[in-house]
Amino acid sequence: MLNKSTTKTPMPEQEPALRARNFEEVAFGYTQAQAKREAERCLRCKNKPCVSGCPVGVDIPAFVGALAEGDTAAAADVIRRANALPAVCGRVCPQETQCEQLCVRGRNGEPVAIGRLERYTADWAMEYGEDETPAAPNGVRAAVVGSGPAGLTCAGALARLGYAVTVFEAFHKPGGVLVYGIPEFRLPKAIVAREIAQLEARGVVIETNCVVGRTVTVDELLAEGYRAVFVGSGAGLPTFMGIPGENLNGVYSANEFLTRVNLMRAFEKGAQTPIQPVRRVAVVGGGNVAMDAARCALRLGAESVSIVYRRGEQEMPARAEEIHHAREEGIAFRLLVNPVSLIGDEQGWVREMVCVEMELSEPDESGRRRPVPKEGSRVTLPVDAVVMAIGSSPNPLIRQTTPDLAANRWGCLVADEATGRTAKRGVYAGGDAVTGAATVILAMGAGQAAARAIHEDITDGRL
């Protein structure tokens, strides 16, 4: 029976005042009854517009339909076929610009809450579903560099085809940005660990503490007998603004701040990685990473946290939900403001951020209106910590040590978008390493496409 409600079934979540002081997950997820009610809002359109908005092509009406019929196991099967990390995607995908944006229900009211339903289904499958068993081996070894969303997806897809896949991870723990970047309260690390355990059950081997480009090179991997190498090493090199005072104590890249908190768990008693106690924090940037850093700072006990962004809210690249959650939790938004220098005290600790006001002119190449400084304007913010969340670019180690791999002027590896093929035979690349910092799901789409291309090239005898 169709649920005619024009709004999404609400998902219960922690009260803002409470959650702003803990690292537990913000949203609790649907109950089965809530999921069924929400699934009943789906019109099961024949032409499935939502599917074309999904970078990995999940058959959305099929899984939502199964939920509406109360068959969560069938829904989980449908998702698993296309998505290696559904519990992750259900939490962090920008659904509002992808599947949900194309949902017909969205023309008159809110779209079907596809993301929440995916999360419900994946969480159910983790609890009650069975791990996939390894496929029959095809005797071909493949290497995957990086265990973030692109690498894990590629590894999972290849393993399902029977490849013996080894994933090489630089950190001591697999997951890439899912563990070092996205905070616990948005994506619990236990969930990531479970998704990875499911890939391992499928036969994927993960070798941590291996920095490809230092510990071993791409060419050595090929020489070791890996017929194909997929590079999904992400965009891990932080960008700084290049303004005076940026090396003062108390100024962090978002990578550093988030890695200390998320991967090294500096917020937990007993963890040995320190983080500076913060009181007045300014986070520069308007993306998901900025929101994550700001909300972490709040949870670490900061008195006041501001997002400092040079454009307006409309132009912010963060997911709508993250902006909404951040605001609910008490993060201040200093919009149309851009830092020009940081001022420190005698001991060299940052104490003040000097900014100019900005206004928006005509749209730039990204389609967003370009911010320009208002002449003579000046705004100062008292701060004792500053987090630079203005983007990141691919780490140079792989391109520096793989001579025949091309990179563009931003340091992104050059690879065919649809297949991940690079100019170097046997080497494929995808995700942020190719596109620069983007989303989890786009990286997953690239990992999946590369797995398909690797299989084609092996099958057709090109490798």
């Binding site: 630089a170 950190f171 001591h172 070092y180 941590t208 503490n209 291996c210 920095v211 230092r214 510990t215 071993v216 891990g236 090199l237 932080p238 700084f240 290049g242 940026e246 090396n247 104590n249 108390g250 962090y252 890249s253 990578n255 550093e256 890695t259 200390r260 090294m264 768990r265 007993g270 963890a271 040995q272 990685t273 320190p274 500076q276 001991q347 060299g348 780490n395 140079p396 180690l397």
Partner: protein, 281 residues
């Protein structure tokens, strides 16, 4: 887990561990470092590779116990293991083409200076070593350093080994006598700063090895940023070796104090916990 096959204590603060890490040992070159994590809750500690042997797959580290993590590392013995070791990281030292070199080590820095001197000596260079310690009881690697140098001078701040003085005094005298292709200085920031000030008037290229605070060691966190010739560099991927005459040491010294308060507190807590354990036994 990575098994410790040898442990040796040099002095109450300094210890040497040899660890089985074949992938690291296979590629390690002088000047590179590893990140070590003692256990599941541990932090990632950057430590320079003091020695490595590809054939046996072993890597040696020498470290000083300054905080909780290094104190925990210092409590390990042969047969124990560390949770993680990753590397080799950083750019290997450029030692090629150097014919006459003075290697200056200060305290723990001698542990890092030694492999550089050893490599240079092995390449046929003329190597003089100046090693400075606070006191005679803290001296380590003396025989090893002597074996890879043409002239070794070990001095102490308090003169307790019979040679009182700062490395910079001895270096200045050496610079007067010898025309070096390069000076390689490794030790506390303040020592490296003054070595650079000493060599500057002689226009001798001076290479320093920076050891700033870092989280990942692979270019990701940016915590290890160092200003070199007005440009921001990441010590982990652009270094750790830099042209000492271009390094902003004052900034580096300031940045090294970021976690000093936490470090001291954690070490204190660690000692307290150790005492509690002793009392409980």
């Amino acid at each position: 887990m990575y098994r410790i096959v040898e442990a040796q204590r040099y002095n109450p603060q300094v210890k040497r561990l040899t660890v089985e890490a074949p992938r690291v040992a296979r590629r390690a070159r002088p000047g590179q470092f590893v990140m070590v994590r003692v256990d599941e809750r541990g932090e990632r500690i950057p430590l320079t590779i003091a020695d490595s042997d590809a054939a046996s797959g072993r890597v040696t580290i020498i470290f000083q116990e300054v905080g909780c993590s290094t104190a925990m590392l210092g409590a390990l013995e042969a047969g124990d293991a560390v949770a993680d070791i990753v590397g080799p990281l950083g750019v290997p030292s450029h030692l090629e083409g150097l014919g006459r070199v003075c290697v200056v080590g200060g305290g723990l820095g001698c542990a890092i200076a030694y492999p550089q001197a050893k490599a240079l000596f092995g390449m046929g260079a003329h190597v003089d070593i100046i090693a400075g310690f606070r006191s005679a009881s803290l001296i380590f690697l003396e025989e090893e350093m002597r074996a890879v140098s043409h002239g070794l001078t070990v001095c102490t701040d308090d003169g307790s080994n019979g040679c009182k003085g700062l490395v910079t005094d001895i270096l200045k005298a050496a610079l007067e006598k010898t025309d070096y292709d390069a000076v390689i200085a490794i030790g506390p920031l303040v020592m490296m700063k003054f070595v650079c000030l000493t060599t500057k008037p002689y226009a001798v290229p001076t290479i320093v090895s920076m050891n700033p605070i870092m989280v990942d060691g692979t270019g990701m966190c940016g915590c290890c940023r160092v200003t070199v010739g007005g440009e921001v560099k990441f010590a982990c991927v652009d270094g750790p070796d830099f042209d000492g005459h271009l390094v902003d040491f004052d900034e580096a010294m300031r940045r090294n104090t970021i976690y000093r308060a936490q470090e001291q507190r954690s070490l204190q807590d660690h000692i307290c916990r150790g005492e509690e354990r002793l009392h409980a036994q």
